[in-house]
């Protein structure tokens, strides 16, 4: 059974106790008043029963944020964001789950259908009991983690996987030791904002030598009108441990822009490996670019230990604007950073995404494979930094950056930055730009494929090097998602 199905099942299980799928109007929210000031932050911290140190940490972040300016170096455009016109806290009130498929958002069901989720599994959305599962899900819904499952199996292995607000209470030393050490509070405008107002997210700790017995996943939904989402995720892989984390998103269609400014921090010690996979499918806005999510995310991993490895894989098809650079700081000698990315933009979507590979240790290695696909009137930019520090003798990077254009009105841009302070490092950058050719489409169609199937096939072929890095269940969903995202992009 596909991971996504299990995810849905699990979330559905949770839904019965607290969260109702579908229309935002159907959910009563406990909202903080709009606006951001110290009182808002104190309210969030109090609601979550946080210790003094965390409140101080938030306030410090807020003080830093107030002195910062929204960044405008990315190749994206949006109307000014009124940060005082956002609810910074929303918790759903307990409500019974949906009684039948009729109560589920039809847009959402249509998307599930396109993604090929079978009827039976769609019915799971309506509350039908599901089977066994080997994916653990920490459901993050509108800033409050409603519940966490599979705790027992994980606890047996010594793995901690829980909402970060719970980790603050149950494992304060771990959180305090690592929070903000990879992405400091004043790292950038959006990270500072997140640090001040984050409401929930996931926390993972894998003890030394433990191979996490299951894929860990988080299922994000954004549902409260005008509620900014500020998730905070912290994953720590202790020496010799392994963990694979999946993050998948769907969002119901809506009319107003939603700001999402998450922070994800990863820490890997000696010989530890973290694989972080994302399939992002947030509402991109309508064909004219109206509505849609602003996704301004800071994701960074620190390879602190020797021979540690952090691998980011992302398939980005949604959001009106994507501003995202999952990065690796390769501190440990012989540590490895990887970034595999597919970013699709259609209609009026804008994506400025890429990575930073910061080589500090000796013989550190990094691989970047970026596949950008632009259609409609969209703009797709790869922006990447490879920096080799003076101590990083023997460091190596290989970057492969390919762009695929569909139609006449889209744009693809590549902005690589390379800085090397060590003469014994090797950095390679390859880039290509191609178009889906008419003769390729005709060839496929003459064999019986519809134009859209043909585009899906060609696009999936173009992305193969990235898709093969995804966990298998995710890869299947991602392939379908690519085809769905590009519907109507030709002809």
């Amino acid at each position: 059974m596909a991971a996504v199905t299990e995810t849905l099942e699990t979330v559905q299980g949770l839904a019965q106790s607290g969260y109702k799928f579908g229309f935002e109007t159907a959910i009563e929210m406990d909202l903080a008043p709009k606006g951001l000031n110290e009182d808002t932050i104190r309210l969030i911290s109090a609601r979550k029963g946080e210790p003094e140190w965390l409140l101080d940490w938030r306030l410090a972040a807020f003080a830093a944020w107030r002195k910062m300016e929204e960044p405008h170096w990315a190749r994206v455009w949006h109307a000014p964001i009124d940060y005082q016109d956002i609810h910074y806290y929303a918790a759903p009130k307990a409500k019974p789950g949906p009684k039948s498929l009729d109560e589920v958002d039809p847009e959402l069901l249509a998307m599930y259908e396109k993604l090929g989720i079978p009827l039976k599994e769609r019915a799971i959305l309506a509350g039908v009991e599901g089977g066994a599962s080997n994916v653990a899900v920490d459901a993050v819904f509108d800033s409050v983690s409603v519940a966490t499952t599979f705790r027992a199996t994980l606890a047996k292995a010594g793995v901690i996987f829980c909402p970060i607000s719970e980790a603050v209470r149950e494992h304060p030393d771990l959180v305090r030791k690592y929070l903000g050490t990879v992405v400091p509070v004043a790292d950038n405008f959006f990270a500072a904002l997140n640090s001040a107002v984050f409401t929930d997210g996931s926390f993972v700790y894998i003890p030394p030598g433990v191979r996490c017995p299951m894929e860990l996943s988080t299922y994000f939904r954004i549902n409260a009108r005008n509620t900014g989402q500020f998730e905070r995720t912290l994953i720590i892989a202790d020496a010799g441990s392994h963990v694979s984390y999946l993050e998948g998103c769907t969002a119901p269609q809506r009319d107003e822009n939603q700001l999402h400014a998450a922070v994800v921090e990863l820490v890997a010690f000696d010989d530890a490996q973290i694989k972080y996979s994302t399939v992002q499918n947030w509402y991109p806005g309508d064909a004219n670019g109206r509505g849609g999510i602003y996704n301004f995310v800071t994701k960074r991993g620190a390879c602190r230990g020797a021979r540690s490895k952090i691998s980011w894989t992302q398939v980005e098809t949604g959001s009106a604007i994507t501003w995202k650079y999952p990065s690796c700081v390769l501190e440990g000698d012989e540590s490895v950073g990887e970034f595999y990315s597919v970013a699709v933009t259609n209609n009026r979507q804008q994506a400025d995404t890429g990575t930073k590979m910061i080589h500090l240790g000796r013989n550190t290695r990094s691989t970047i494979v970026s596949k950008g696909i632009s259609a409609g009137r969209s703009d797709n930019t790869y922006r990447g930094l490879v920096r080799i520090g003076s101590r990083a003798a023997g460091a190596r990077n290989h970057t492969q950056c390919d762009s695929l254009l569909i139609g006449e009105h889209c744009g693809a841009h590549t902005v690589p930055y390379i800085e090397s302070r060590n003469p014994h490092a090797k950095v390679e950058h390859e880039a290509t730009t191609s178009k889906i050719a008419e003769d390729q489409l005709f060839y496929c169609r003459s064999r019986g494929l519809t134009e859209e199937d043909a585009v899906g096939l060609i696009v999936n072929g173009f992305c193969k090097d990235v898709l093969k890095e995804l966990p298998m269940e995710f890869a299947v969903e991602a392939q379908k998602l690519l085809a769905v995202s590009l519907e109507g992009s030709v002809g």
């Binding site: 003769d439 496929c444 003459s446 019986g448 519809t450 072929g461 173009f462």
Partner: protein, 249 residues
Amino acid sequence: MLEIKGLAASIAGKPILRGIDLVVPSGEVHAIMGPNGSGKSTLSYVLAGREDYEVTAGTATFEGADLLAMAPEERAAAGVFLAFQAPIELPGVGNANFLRTALNAVRRARGESELDAVQFLKLARAEAKRLAMPEDMLKRNVNVGFSGGEKKRNEVLQMALLRPRLAILDETDSGLDIDALKIVADGVNALRRPEFSALVITHHQRLLDHLVPDRVHVLAGGRIVCSGGPELAHELEARGYAAITAEAA
């Protein structure tokens, strides 16, 4: 089966076909020969539905249906297959995946059940073997890095799997050595049955030694200038296009 009347077509405003009349009855193989630039490939593209060609006059019906009103994929589902003169490369797309997607699309459109991966591979391997294709050709990306001969054999493999009712072979013999030529001809011969027709575009008599046509047509200047039995191909080979078309004019 196929009935073409007064078909005229142009590309970018330049007329190529200037009134083709041609009937290919069920079960027959017709050869089209003619000098370069006479419109042979254009005819094959127009029949398969390539959109950059504009049909300016005439009709083409396939089993009674208006072929020119159909999208390329509808023509494929109806049973029209074009073996490309220069098969197109699809980087990153596995040949087996492509063939299976195409076969299932056509089966779906014909109301037949789709094949799963296991059923498909069994079928594809058997056909590949008959065409003396190395099995790794199924694993490689569609036509990427294929030699000229491998590309042509891959076209015939697709044809064998899709089981068309009308196969249009556009110079499938060009670039093939004698052994490969025989394999390709055998691939077409294996499909010959009363409800199968083929339109074979070629420059050379030697393909027609293995794939004996019922009729041979000579295309020149966008028109069919003369038609005859298999012996016409021999005559062309011996005397050249110029002499034959001059006589016909």
